[in-house]
């Protein structure tokens, strides 16, 4: 079988680098074309060996991995980056998203996940550790890192907020439907949606939440 995914492994830790390279090389569809012990060397190696995917550790001494990635992008725009790190750090996630990395994996992930990430990356698909993807926010213009402290209340539509206020005030759903001039079934659906969005499925807790968020008076 022809190995068509050309991968470069960059990690300052020789043992980790070797084991990753060997595990990847053991895959029938992956070829490890180069390895590098730091991001600076990785730039030269990338220029020389033209990998499709660069699997790169973030926590390395010397040139920053993200700077190296930007430099490599300049002469090889198609190359995909999958970052590895022992730490899930906001600053790292932000930089990885900025350069549209195809993966950000915690080093806690098993080797199979890394191999899968490389395969996905070769198709242009992404793979993020769950702890990373949970913190990514879809925005009108793309993606960014979650602003800390943002409330789930923002997920509610104006109508859902209004209904939450009435529910918290103890109004029966029928009365809410009459008040808003909509069918009780629609009110029911709005309630389901807002409960799903807030991940609160208990009416008392819902009321407490609404009071805390200032949607209704205690």
């Amino acid at each position: 079988m022809t190995k068509y995914i050309r991968v470069m492994v960059v990690d300052d830790h020789a043992l980790v680098r070797d084991v990753l390279a060997e595990r990847l090389a053991a895959q029938p569809d992956i070829e490890v074309v180069a390895t590098a012990a730091d991001a600076g060397t990785a730039i030269d190696e990338a220029r020389e060996h033209a990998p499709h995917i660069i699997l790169m550790d973030i926590d390395m001494p010397g040139v920053s991995s993200f700077d190296a990635a930007r430099t490599i992008r300049q002469f090889a725009p198609e190359v995909g980056f999958v970052f590895l790190s022992a730490y899930v750090n906001d600053q790292y996630i932000d930089q990885a998203l900025e350069i549209e990395a195809l993966g950000y994996l915690s080093k806690e992930e098993p080797a199979e996940v890394v191999i899968d990430a490389v395969r996905r990356a070769s198709r242009g698909a992404t793979r993020f550790s769950k702890s990373v993807s949970d913190r990514i926010v879809l925005e009108p213009g793309g993606v960014s890192l979650a602003a800390s402290g943002s409330s789930r209340l923002n997920l509610l539509t104006p109508r859902e907020r209004e209904i939450l206020g009435y529910l918290a005030a103890g109004m029966p759903k029928k009365q809410i439907a009459t008040l808003l001039g909509i069918s009780p079934k629609t009110v029911e659906k709005h309630c389901d949606h807002l409960m799903d969005k807030l991940d609160i499925h208990d009416r008392v807790k819902l009321a407490r939440y609404a009071i805390r968020e200032g949607l209704t008076q205690p």
């Binding site: 043992l15 730490y87 080797a111 879809l138 109508r159 969005k197 407490r208």
Partner: protein, 611 residues
């Protein structure tokens, strides 16, 4: 034991008035005192001089009157007895001078002169002169015996008595006046003395007040210095802990890499061996051991990670159970660790997870050091009524040991910074001080019960907060896994975002069919390729609106749930949608979208199953 109480007892720091105010008040009082003294001396001298002068005048007037009258009587008697005309001239001169002096004294009286007495004296002198003139005329007529008889008869004697009585009364009145003047002056002296005493009293009071304020201020300074020392020491300790944390983190990181290598090479070796090779099982055991070791390093990394203090709801039952294995690592084999999480399955407090870990670790280390020969450490959680709030609940978290305990003297100083009973190799004397600082910062209290030989129980109370209903971070940290099933149709224009969403939804267990635009989406549906359990549409898609797109596929018979991601959200848009559609306004967390996708498909499949 309670630092708060100690501070509260000492009261607030008294502000010292500005030095200028004190100097001004002191100067005014000093000048007043000296002014009063000078005034008093002046008045005393003046009054003394006036009284002495008045006394001299009074005495001189009396002498003039008494001697004048005697001279007059002598001159009259000598004229009668000798018939010498010279005595007549003297008599007339004396009488004129005496009357003139009396008239002057009556006309311009000095203070204390009794005008009535003076007038009586003058009248008596006038009457005596008349009798003496008659006697002189009789003697001139040769009736010397009759003249002498006239000067010595009882009438003449009565006149003399009248004169002496009036003279005596005049002097008596005059002396009474001088006495009264003296008494008045004494009263004035007493008044001055009173004012002087008042000023001195004010000075003394001010002095005492100043001394009190200075003392209070000094005590406040002293407290501030102690507090500052404590904070600096805590900072030092925190920096030390930070350094230790970094060190542990670095070591864990290196170990993690090594374990990754061990695990990886073991897997490689296993995979390269034929299936029946006996070494495969051994290598599988190596992989298992490596996985366990990786778990340990992961925990160490979590434990040693130090970030800025961030308070949020923390579930302590789970945290303590999770941290217990780290506590066990600091305990020797001779010490047993017991956990008593109490009857509540979950207890939430508002705090910094790392700091609360540090509190427990410090207490466990203290417990260990109190039991050199082994024993038991019991960490106990108990919810109890909050004495400060009627309907409030608080958490009593205690760490009890079966060690040597503390006497009252040690107990009293236990939370003082730098106070330690350990040798310098083992203790900085900051453990409990840091614990106290953190507990105080979390709105809690620290209580230590200990008796020599009976062990020590350190209890900290923290206010219980309601379980957070929908705090994203907490849910994320809780690690509530969401998993769905079925197929999701995803229309998203932004390639990178699409990739991320595909991964996220696939990770949640969905099979995802992504497209880049609405026309592509519609054509797929028309071609009968879309058999989705959930549709996720971006309303800001190129080539058509997501809501329109949904309408189109609804027309073609898709009745399943849909999530529409949108930037702009109008009430009209919301009203026009059917009940199976959930609108999500951007920004939306990928984690939330995944969770809601699972919820939407679950509720539908649940509904269908129920149907």
């Amino acid at each position: 034991m309670n630092r708060d109480q100690t501070n509260a007892d000492s009261g607030p720091t008294l502000p010292l008035a500005r030095p200028g105010t004190w100097i001004l008040i002191a100067s005014v009082l000093t000048f007043s005192l000296f002014g009063l003294l000078i005034y008093h001396v002046n008045v005393t001298l003046r009054v003394g001089s006036e009284l002495a002068q008045a006394h001299l005048h009074g005495e001189a007037l009396r002498d003039l009157i008494v001697e004048g009258e005697q001279q007059l009587s002598l001159a009259a008697a000598m004229r009668v007895a000798t018939g010498d005309r010279e005595w007549l001239g003297r008599y007339e001169g004396l009488q004129r001078d005496l009357i003139a002096s009396l008239d002057t004294a009556i006309g311009t009286p000095r203070p204390g002169y009794d005008i009535g007495a003076l007038t009586d004296i003058r009248d008596a002198v006038t009457d005596l002169s008349r009798t003496q003139s008659q006697a002189i005329q009789l003697a001139a007529a040769g009736q010397v015996p009759n003249a002498l008889a006239l000067l010595s008869d009882s009438d003449h004697g009565a006149l003399k008595d009248r004169f002496e009585s009036a003279s005596g009364r005049f002097m008596e009145m005059f002396r009474a006046h001088l006495q009264a003047e003296l008494v008045g002056h004494r009263r004035h002296e007493l008044g001055s003395l009173g004012v002087g005493m008042a000023i001195v009293s004010i000075c003394v009071l001010m002095w005492l007040s100043l001394a009190r304020r200075v003392r209070k201020r000094s005590e406040a300074f002293e407290r501030e210095l102690v507090e500052r020392s404590r904070l600096e020491a805590e900072l030092l300790q925190a920096q030390k802990m930070e350094a230790v944390g970094r060190l542990a983190s670095g070591i864990a990181h290196d170990f993690s890499n090594l374990i990754t290598a061990i695990r990886g090479f073991a897997t490689l070796a296993r995979e390269r061996l034929p299936p029946e090779h006996p070494a495969r099982q051994s290598l599988a055991r190596v992989e298992e051991a490596a996985d366990q070791a990786q778990g340990v390093t992961r925990g160490l990394l979590t434990f040693s990670r130090k970030s800025a203090t961030e308070k949020k709801p923390v579930e302590l039952v789970a945290q303590i159970q999770e941290d217990a294995r780290w506590f066990r690592r600091v305990l020797p084999g001779t010490i047993r660790l017991n956990l008593d999480p109490g009857s509540q399955p979950k207890v939430w407090v508002f705090g910094d997870r790392g700091q609360l870990q540090q509190v427990l670790l410090n207490l466990v280390v203290n417990a260990r050091d109190a039991m050199p020969d082994g024993g038991e450490v019991t960490i106990k959680l108990e919810a109890e009524a909050d004495p400060d709030h009627d309907d409030g609940r608080q958490l009593a978290l205690s760490v009890a040991d079966t060690g040597m305990g503390m006497g009252p003297a040690v107990l009293q100083r236990a939370i003082e910074p730098f106070f330690t009973t350990k040798d310098t190799e083992h203790g900085t004397g900051l453990g409990l001080s840091v614990v106290h600082g953190i507990v105080k910062d979390h709105g809690g209290m620290l209580r230590i019960d200990s008796h020599p030989g009976e062990g020590t129980v350190v209890t900290l109370t923290l206010p219980i907060v309601p379980a957070p209903a929908a705090t994203d971070e907490v849910v994320a940290e809780e690690g509530i896994e969401v998993s769905g099933s079925g197929s999701v149709f995803l229309a998203q224009g932004h390639a990178y975002v699409r990739d991320i969403l595909v991964t996220a939804l696939e990770d949640a267990g969905f099979s995802v069919s992504p497209v880049t635009s609405c026309p592509a989406f519609r054509s797929l549906y028309r071609d009968g390729e879309l058999r989705a359990d959930l549709v996720v549409l971006d309303n800001d898609l190129p080539g058509g609106c997501g809501v329109d797109c949904l309408d189109k596929i609804r027309e073609h018979g898709y009745l399943g749930p849909a999530i529409i991601l949108t930037h702009e959200l109008s009430p009209e848009m919301e009203q026009g949608l059917d009940a199976e559609v959930m609108l999500l306004r951007k920004p939306v967390r990928v984690g939330d979208l995944r969770r809601l996708a699972v919820a939407m498909t679950r509720s539908r499949s649940g509904g269908e199953e129920a149907a």
